[in-house]
Symmetry: C2
Subunit: 497 residues, 2 copies
C-alpha cells in the first residue's frame, strides 16, 4: 500500500515518498507565545500529532521540528500591556502551551527551536538574500523583494492582485513594492533588539521558519505543515525566502489543516465566540476533544458546539465501558469464563458478521489513513469493530463460546493498537470509568450514601406494596439526575447525561 | 569579564570562547528511559539547567541538545520483566522524566532526539567507520577497534590497563581487542531490530550520541555535558567514534558534574540507599531540592540526607518570608509606607553595610558564576543580600527612611533576577507562603479554629492572672508543634519545623 497525501502545492493527492530512505523531516509552524492556546491550536496540534504518529507507526523515522515564536509584534504589545518583559511573557505562555499539549496527549516535537535562540542563523540567511539581490535594506529594516521572485504566489494560487487585496497592505514608502515583506525590523526604543549588519533590530516573523527549518531539516525537506490560514502570506514567504537563498526546492509536500468554527461562526474573541483548550478540558476528557477533532477529515472545516463535544464525551464513555467489559470477560480465569468449556457450540449468524468486523479493523484502518490520513473514516471502522465487540459480548452472556471470547480479545487489541496512532483509549478502562464516575458524582446534589439509603427505602416500600412511596422516591432521585434500573439482581443507578 | 570553565579534557579551567560568534552548541547526555529518575538525574539536570540559563543570561545563543535513549539492554530486559513492549516502556518513562523535569523547573532542551528516531543516521555513521577501517563486523555485530584510535583514553586520562580494569571486560571471542565496543548489535529473537548492512539489529549505546550530536550541532561543537560516571567509557567512546568518522575535533569543552551520595554512601537500589525525584518532591518543595543541589560546586561530590534537605526547606521558607515582607513594605502606597515622609533621617551604620551587600549582589553573582559556575559561592552572595534586606527591614520598622525602602526594593529585584538564572524564587512569595502554610497545617493534629480558641482562652487566663491555666494551654499547643509568639500586638502562632 502507498501512503497518499494531499499536497497544497499541487492541489492534489500524491504518493508519499521521502527524500531520503525512510526518513521523514517535518516542520510544523508552532505558536506565537503571547496568549493561551485556543481550539484552533488544538486542531492543528492533534492533526499533526496523528499524522506523525501514523508515519512512525508505518515505520518511517520522523524528525518533527516545531518552532516557538518568542519575539513578535503581538508579544511586544501584550508584554507592554501587562507590564512584563517579552521574555517573561513568552516563557509564561510557552509553559502554558506545553501544559495544554501534555493534557491533550500531543507528543513533543524532537526539535523545538525558539526564534530568539537562532538570531545568528536568521541574520546569516538575510545576509545571503541581500547579497543575492533578493532583499534590500531601508533605514534599518530589510525587506524581501517579491518582484525578484517570480514564483511568488504559487502555493496560494493567487495572482499578485488577489494577494494585495487579501493582505490589506498598508502603503509603506520604504518598500519597493507593496507586497514586499520585512525580514528584519529596525529596533524601536524600549523593544528587544539584537545587533545586526543593518543596526539593532529584530527578525520579521516569516524568516525564523526558513532559518530554523533549514538548520534542523536541511535545505530541502519532506513535509511542511500548519493551519490553512498560514498558506498566505506566511508559507508563501517562507518558500520565497528559502528558495531564493538556497537555489533549491524548499518543501516537497505542504499539508494544511482546515479551519475551526464555533456554532457555525468564525472564532473571534471580540464576538465572545472563542474557546481556549483549558476551558474545554475543564468540562470534558481530553480524549473526547481528540475524538471530536478527528471526527472530520483534517482538511474539512470543523464546527464546534457544546452538543457535539458532549456527544463525543458520551461516545467515549461508551467505548471505555465496552472495552472495560471486554477486558473483564477475557481476563477472567478460564474456569470463570462464560463459555470456557463450551467449545463447539454453534454461533448465531450475527456473531460471524461481528467477528468479520473485528478482523478487518486493522486493514481498513490502514486503508483509511493511507488515503490522506482520513481519520473520520478510520474512526468509523473503530466504531464498527466496537459494535462487533458489543454483539459478541451480548452473545457471550447468553450462549457462551470460546470463539467469541477470542474474537473479543483480538478486537480489544486491535482497537488499542489503532488507538495508539490516534492518541485515544490510552487509559486503563477501569481507571477511566472510575474517574468519570467521580466527576459525575461531583455534579449531582446527593451523596452516594443517601442514594443507596433511598434505594433501600424504595425497596422496602415496594415489598410493602406502597407503590406511591416507592414512586415518590424514584421521582426524587430522577430530580437529582439519578436514573434507577431494576433487574432481577436488584436495583442499580446511573447518572443521567 | 571572561567566563571560565573547567574542561575535563585538559583538567583545568579555561576561558570559554564559542566556536562561532556568540552561539553555543551544547549536548548533554539524557536518560535511558527504563525506570524513574533518581537524585543523581536531578543533580545533572539542575546543574546543566543552571549552566544553560547562565549562558543565555550572559547573551549567548544556546542550542541545547539532550537525547533520550529509547532502545538499550536495560530497556529490553525491563520490558520483558513487565510484559510490555520496549516502545511502551520507554514512552512511559520518558513521560515520567518529562514530568519530573517540569516539577524541578528544568527548562526543556531545544532538541530532544530519541535513538530510535535516528537509526539511519547511526547506520551511516557506522558505515563511515567501517569504510575508514575503524570498525569491523563480526556475525551481525559491528565493533569499534580501539587500537586503531591512538587517542583512546585521553579524556579519562587512563592507560589501556587501567581502562580494562575499570571496565571489567568479559572476554568476547568476536572482538579483536577486549576494549573494543559494540556500535551495532545483532538482533536476537524477540528483541526490536532494524535492517542494516550487517543484518537486522540495533545500535549500541555510545554511537547514538555521536550520530545525534553531529546531526544537530555539527561535527565540532562547544560543550558536552554529563555526569562524571559517563567519562569512561561513554564519552571516551563518543570521542573515538566521532573523531575517527569526521577527522575533526569533536567537542571543545567537556563538563562533568560530580556524584551524589546518600548519608555518605553510594546510591544503590539493592542497599535501599536510593531516592527517586518523586519521593523527594513528595515531602519538599522543588526549589528546596534545587537549593540543595546548587549548594555545592557542581564538580564536588554532594551528600544528601534528610537533615540537609529539611535545612534547605527551612532556609527557602525564610527567604520567601523575607521577600514577602520586603514586597509588602515596598509595595505599600506612599502614605502608608514607614519612612515615606522621613527623608533626611540619618541611618544607623549597620544600614550602610546592608545597602552595600545588596548593591554588590549582581556583580558578585556574575563573578562567582563566571568562575566555573560556582553556584555555592553565588548562593552565599544571595544569602548576604538577604541578610542585608532583613537588617533594613528591622531598621525600617523602628526608624523609617526612604533610602532603606529603596535599597530593599533593589535588593528584591536583584535576588529575583539572579533567581531566574538559578531557577529559584520563581513563585510569588504570597502564593508560596500560603501553600507552605497549608502543607504544614495538614501535618498538625489541631484544626486552625481550635488553635485560635485555645489562644483566646489563654489570653483570658492571663488577664485573670491564672498563670497555671495559661501555661497549660501553651504546653498543650507546644505538644502539637504549635509555638506561640507574644508581642504587644497580641499572640501569633507558628508551626515548629
Amino acid at each position: 500500500m502507498t501512503l497518499r497525501l494531499y499536497n497544497s502545492f499541487s492541489s492534489q493527492k500524491e504518493d508519499f515518498k521521502p527524500l531520503q530512505d525512510n526518513h521523514v523531516g517535518i516542520y510544523v509552524c508552532g505558536i506565537t507565545a503571547y496568549d493561551d492556546c485556543h481550539l484552533g491550536h488544538a486542531r492543528a496540534a492533534v492533526v499533526f500529532d496523528v499524522i506523525i504518529r501514523y508515519l512512525r507507526h508505518r515505520g518511517f523515522e520522523v524528525t518533527h521540528v516545531q518552532n516557538i515564536t518568542d519575539i513578535d509584534d503581538k508579544i511586544i504589545n501584550r508584554a507592554r500591556e501587562k507590564g512584563v518583559s517579552c521574555k517573561e511573557l513568552s516563557e509564561h505562555y510557552t509553559g502554558e502551551f506545553h501544559r495544554d499539549m501534555e493534557s491533550l496527549g500531543v507528543a513533543r516535537p524532537d526539535v523545538e527551536p525558539r526564534a530568539t535562540g537562532h538570531i545568528q542563523n536568521i541574520i546569516r540567511l538575510i545576509e545571503t538574500l541581500v547579497s543575492k539581490g533578493y532583499a534590500y535594506a531601508a533605514e534599518g529594516n530589510v525587506f524581501f523583494s517579491v518582484e525578484k521572485f517570480p514564483a511568488y504566489g504559487r502555493l496560494s494560487h493567487r495572482s499578485p492582485e488577489e494577494m494585495q487585496a487579501g493582505a490589506r497592505v498598508k502603503i509603506d514608502p520604504q518598500k519597493h513594492h507593496p507586497m514586499d515583506f520585512a525580514l528584519w525590523k529596525a529596533g524601536k526604543p524600549g523593544e528587544p533588539a539584537w545587533e545586526s549588519p543593518w543596526g539593532p533590530g529584530r527578525p520579521g516573523w516569516h524568516i525564523e521558519c526558513s532559518a530554523m527549518s533549514i538548520r534542523y531539516l536541511g535545505e530541502t525537506f519532506d513535509i511542511h505543515g500548519g493551519g490553512q490560514d498560514l498558506i498566505f502570506p506566511h508559507h508563501e514567504n517562507e518558500i520565497a525566502q528559502s528558495v531564493a537563498a538556497t537555489g533549491k526546492p524548499f518543501v516537497r509536500y505542504f499539508v494544511h489543516n482546515g479551519f475551526v468554527t464555533i456554532n457555525g461562526e468564525k472564532m473571534s474573541k471580540s464576538l465572545g465566540n472563542f474557546l481556549t483548550i483549558k476551558e474545554i478540558l475543564f468540562g470534558y476528557h481530553p480524549e473526547a476533544l481528540r475524538l471530536f477533532l478527528l471526527s472530520k477529515h483534517y482538511r474539512s472545516p470543523l464546527d464546534y458546539s457544546e452538543d457535539l463535544i458532549r456527544e463525543k464525551q458520551v461516545s467515549l464513555d461508551r467505548i471505555y465501558a465496552t472495552l472495560g467489559e471486554a477486558l473483564e470477560i477475557t481476563a477472567a480465569p478460564p474456569g470463570k469464563r462464560p463459555g470456557a468449556s463450551a467449545t463447539g457450540v454453534s454461533l448465531p449468524p450475527e456473531a460471524e458478521a461481528a467477528c468479520a468486523r473485528i478482523k478487518d479493523l486493522k486493514k481498513l484502518f490502514y486503508q483509511a489513513m493511507d488515503d490522506d490520513f482520513n481519520t473520520a473514516q478510520a474512526l468509523g471502522h473503530v466504531f464498527d469493530a466496537l459494535k462487533g465487540i458489543n454483539t459478541l459480548l451480548q452473545i457471550s452472556k447468553m450462549e457462551p463460546a470460546r470463539a467469541c471470547l477470542d474474537a473479543i480479545g483480538s478486537g480489544v487489541s486491535a482497537i488499542r493498537e489503532v488507538g495508539q496512532v490516534l492518541g485515544l483509549f490510552a487509559t486503563e478502562p477501569g481507571v477511566y470509568l472510575q474517574k468519570r464516575r467521580t466527576e459525575k458524582l461531583r455534579k449531582i446534589p446527593l451523596p452516594e450514601k443517601e442514594i443507596s439509603d433511598l434505594i433501600r427505602q424504595r425497596e422496602e416500600a415496594r415489598i410493602k406494596k406502597d407503590w406511591a412511596a416507592a414512586d415518590a422516591i424514584r421521582k426524587k432521585l430522577a430530580g437529582a439526575n439519578i436514573i434507577l434500573k431494576d433487574s432481577p439482581q436488584g436495583t442499580t443507578w446511573e447518572i443521567k447525561e
